[in-house]
């Protein structure tokens, strides 16, 4: 009986030892690029699918699958570059697939969260199998930057293929299997190098497994002390880059307490960001004043931020009608990630010091993110990850962009901000656009739909069993395209059955 069980359970299928095992804090929630909104899914989808446009230096849109020309302010023509990639089922990607993908997103029945911004598209034409014409309802200089969604094969879209379970794209990696909800295995098409993503929610366990070489790569989401500890360890290398992921406190504007601008300003003054960065994040971050960092083309060069000033915070609270006997109470939602919880406890303490009672509610990542997405919160902390294009402002702050249409989850409504967004989108002059976006960010800092916190650095800890991994600027997993197993630098692994051109 026991022996029987042993062989049944104990000997699960083991992967070849040259498989790179990548420890993730959160499992990707959706491998269908039409639906994916979380960072892990987006990064994984970059490996599985290819897209029309990417971002280059200064976060300016550059050609990926296609080059484009602006034939008129409302007409963009995209030419697919040769050779066009093959989907994992062998079919060649064509203009029809591009059209089908975007048509599907635009179809309200699909209920894609990306539909909001793309609604600007009036019509998509495919004069040849290499050419796609996008006609817009109104001019939008940012338009090419919106076309970053992975392309799906047209025939499978028509069949209602379950992409979330069985992704099918034309990216450098193809989906192999998902044995259970904690593991996902993909294979590099060029040489069969396999990568297994393992969900390990607990950062300690991730650390220990990396130390034991049970996993080979961990990126972000570790307590800073452990990053320092691991980097000193033989057999593990640390890569680090300045990041642009914007961490913030979000608020429900409909709430009687945090709906008040005065209270939010008090909160902004009550949090000692410099100290938190220095002592808790161990310097692996920089203070943020706006959603975009200064090096982004639309980012503000410098903004007068909120300094740490508890006295001012108390004064603002008093002005809002709160005092010692009548303290505001705020429920603060965060994920169960221990480091996020740790930051939340610090913020709770610092807010308590100025006279705000904070109740922390921590939930499993999926539940937490679900709550935030549908607007169920009073205050929460989260980060915008991998945001490139300024259309984020309409998506996150326009009064029309409340869920499910957009991500204005706190129901922020400011007429001036709305106007600035619209003006910026309609301007075709880049210089003018930049000025408008900078004014908008100053306005946001003034009205505080978010209290900006910081931009955390990216870091990757890689086992020396593997080489060639390069940490990318925005923390995506594209470095997996070059990663190699040290054991056999030349000979490809034997198990490859099919080789792709």
């Amino acid at each position: 009986m026991v022996i029987g069980l042993f062989s049944l359970v104990g000997c699960s299928e083991s992967l070849p030892d040259y498989t790179l095992r990548f420890g993730l804090a959160n499992a990707p929630t959706n491998l269908d690029p039409r639906y994916a909104t979380d960072a892990t899914s987006a990064r994984l989808n970059r490996l599985l699918y290819s897209r029309l446009v990417d971002f280059g230096e200064g976060t300016i849109p550059i050609p990926a699958l296609a080059t484009w020309r602006e034939l008129s302010p409302t007409h963009y023509q995209f030419d697919l570059q040769e050779p066009r990639p093959l989907f994992h089922n062998g079919a060649q990607l064509s203009a029809y697939d591009v059209k089908a993908t975007y048509d599907s997103i635009l179809n309200p029945d699909t209920a894609s969260p990306h539909r909001g911004i793309l609604q600007i598209i009036a019509r998509i034409d495919t004069p040849t199998e290499n050419t796609v014409d996008f006609f817009l309802k109104q001019p939008d200089a940012l338009f090419p930057g919106y076309l970053v969604i992975g392309i799906l094969p047209a025939n499978l879209i028509a069949n209602g293929h379950p992409f979330h379970d069985h992704p099918m794209g034309s990216g450098p990696f193809q989906f192999l299997e998902r044995p259970d909800d904690t593991r996902l295995i993909i294979e590099r098409r060029a040489d069969g190098q396999r990568v297994e993503f393992v969900r390990i929610p607990d950062p300690t366990v991730r650390t220990l497994k990396l130390l034991a070489n049970e996993i080979h790569l961990v990126q972000n989401d570790l307590p800073p002390e452990l990053v320092t500890y691991l980097s000193a360890h033989e057999g593990i290398t640390l890569q680090q880059r300045q990041g642009a992921n914007f961490a913030y406190l979000g608020f429900n504007q409909l709430d009687p307490v945090v709906g008040q601008e005065l209270v939010r300003k008090a909160i902004a003054h009550a949090i000692d960001r410099e100290h938190i960065i220095q002592f808790v994040l161990k310097g692996r971050a920089r203070v943020a004043q706006a959603l975009f960092p200064p090096e982004h083309w639309a980012g503000p060069a410098s903004l007068p931020g909120y300094t740490y000033d508890p006295a001012e915070a108390k004064r603002l609270l008093k002005e809002a009608g709160f005092d010692h006997d009548h303290r505001p109470t705020i429920t603060y939602k965060t994920s169960t990630d221990p480091f996020r919880l740790r930051l939340a406890t610090i913020i709770q303490y610092q807010l308590d010091q100025v006279g705000i009672d904070v109740l922390i509610q921590s939930h499993d990542w999926g539940t937490f993110y679900g709550d935030i997405k549908s607007g169920r919160f009073q205050m929460y902390s989260l980060a915008w990850v991998g945001v490139k294009s300024p259309d984020i402002f309409r998506y996150a702050f326009h009064s029309d962009a409340t869920p499910p249409v957009g991500a204005n989850r706190g129901h922020y409504a400011d007429a001036l901000a709305d106007r600035l967004m619209t003006q910026a989108e309609q301007t075709l002059n880049t210089q003018e656009q930049q000025t408008l976006y900078r004014t908008l960010q100053a306005r946001l800092l003034d009205t505080l739909p978010y209290v900006p916190l910081w931009f955390e650095d990216h870091y990757a800890l890689v086992s020396t069993t593997f080489t060639g991994y390069q940490l990318s600027a925005d923390g995506n997993f594209d470095g997996l395209n070059q990663v190699r197993w040290l054991g056999s630098p030349s000979a490809p692994p034997k198990h490859i059955t099919r080789l792709y051109p």
């Binding site: 104990g10 000997c11 699960s12 366990v205 220990l208 709550d371 549908s374």
Partner: protein, 308 residues
């Protein structure tokens, strides 16, 4: 014998029925509106209404119970709110891991407790006895959520003999089974000791010794078999502690069993899954106790008429 069999099985079925009722009521224990708790305070009214319908919470209580019960009869436990999968499938996926861990832990526990308890009983009031019982007291008092991390530190990191966590490879069960088994071994050792002591005091043992049997032989051939019977029943009862402790141990070691499923479901506020996990573990516990009782009755003819 038949009478005992029937009453014992009937009472086990009654207990299962009671467990079903309590587990069913669990969702109604959630203070306030359970739907609101699951979706959050400021959920959209339409979302709330559809979840309420999906869970059948809009019906009168007795009707809800009847639907729940009918579902159980068809092995339909509903669907997970989080993953949208059938809960029965989730359970089937997780049961083998918990079963496997429990069995290995049980072996560890017996393997530790038997020698300890025996030695303590045979050498009563000697340093060996005090040592064994002191160890047992320690084992009872070490919380498994502290012992687990310490074992990981030593066994997985310093020695590198075992995987840190999860279920990978044959040796990954060692550390969780040690964690879970030690606590049980401690209680078991004390029981074995008192049970053997009782037997040692009985007449036939004195006769055996008087006949010149060596004390080792006397203990192994006469005392132990007689002491094992009551231990068997106690073992069944202790399994409850084992199954409860498995929840924490599985969490510490990320062991993909029912306990971890339950904790994850609690964090995800996926109450139908919590209900199902509790139900599954409790029914297992009842069945195991029923089996040990029947085994006991079968092995010991004296039990036949004492049905209470």
């Amino acid at each position: 014998m038949t009478h005992f069999l029937v009453t014992r099985i009937l009472s086990a079925m009654l207990a299962i029925l009671g467990v079903i009722c309590l587990v069913f009521l669990l969702i109604h224990l959630i203070p306030g509106d359970p739907v609101e708790v699951m979706l959050g305070e400021s959920a959209q009214p339409t979302d709330k209404e559809s979840l309420r319908h999906a869970l059948g919470l809009n019906l009168p209580l007795h009707q809800q119970w009847w639907i729940y019960f009918k579902g159980l009869l068809h092995l339909d436990l509903g669907t997970s709110l989080f993953s949208g999968r059938a809960i029965v499938d989730l359970l089937i996926e997780r049961i083998p891991a918990t079963l496997y861990l429990s069995l290995v832990s049980l072996i560890v526990a017996i393997g530790l407790a038997l020698p300890l308890g025996l030695v303590a009983a045979v050498r009563q009031h000697t340093p060996l006895d005090y040592g064994a019982m002191g160890f047992a007291l320690f084992g009872m008092s070490i919380p498994n959520f502290w012992m687990g991390p310490l074992l990981i530190l030593v066994g997985a990191l310093w020695l590198g003999w075992f995987p840190v966590s999860g279920q990978e490879g044959w040796n990954s069960v060692v550390l969780p089974a040690l964690t879970l088994g030690t606590a049980m071994a401690a209680i078991l050792a004390r029981m074995i000791r008192s049970s053997v002591l009782e037997v040692l005091g009985e007449d036939f043992m004195r006769t055996a010794r008087a006949k010149g049997l060596s004390s080792t032989r006397a203990v192994l051939h006469h005392a132990l078999p007689n002491a094992l019977l009551p231990i068997l029943t106690l073992l069944g009862l202790q399994l409850g502690g084992l199954l409860g402790g498995a929840v924490i141990t599985e969490t510490v070691f990320a062991w993909p069993g029912l306990g971890l499923l339950m904790i994850e479901a609690i964090q995800q506020r996926d109450y139908p899954v919590v209900q199902a996990a509790v139900l599954c573990i409790s029914v297992t516990y009842i069945m195991v106790n029923l089996l040990t009782d029947l085994l006991y009755a079968w092995l010991d003819p004296r039990i036949q008429f004492t049905t209470d």
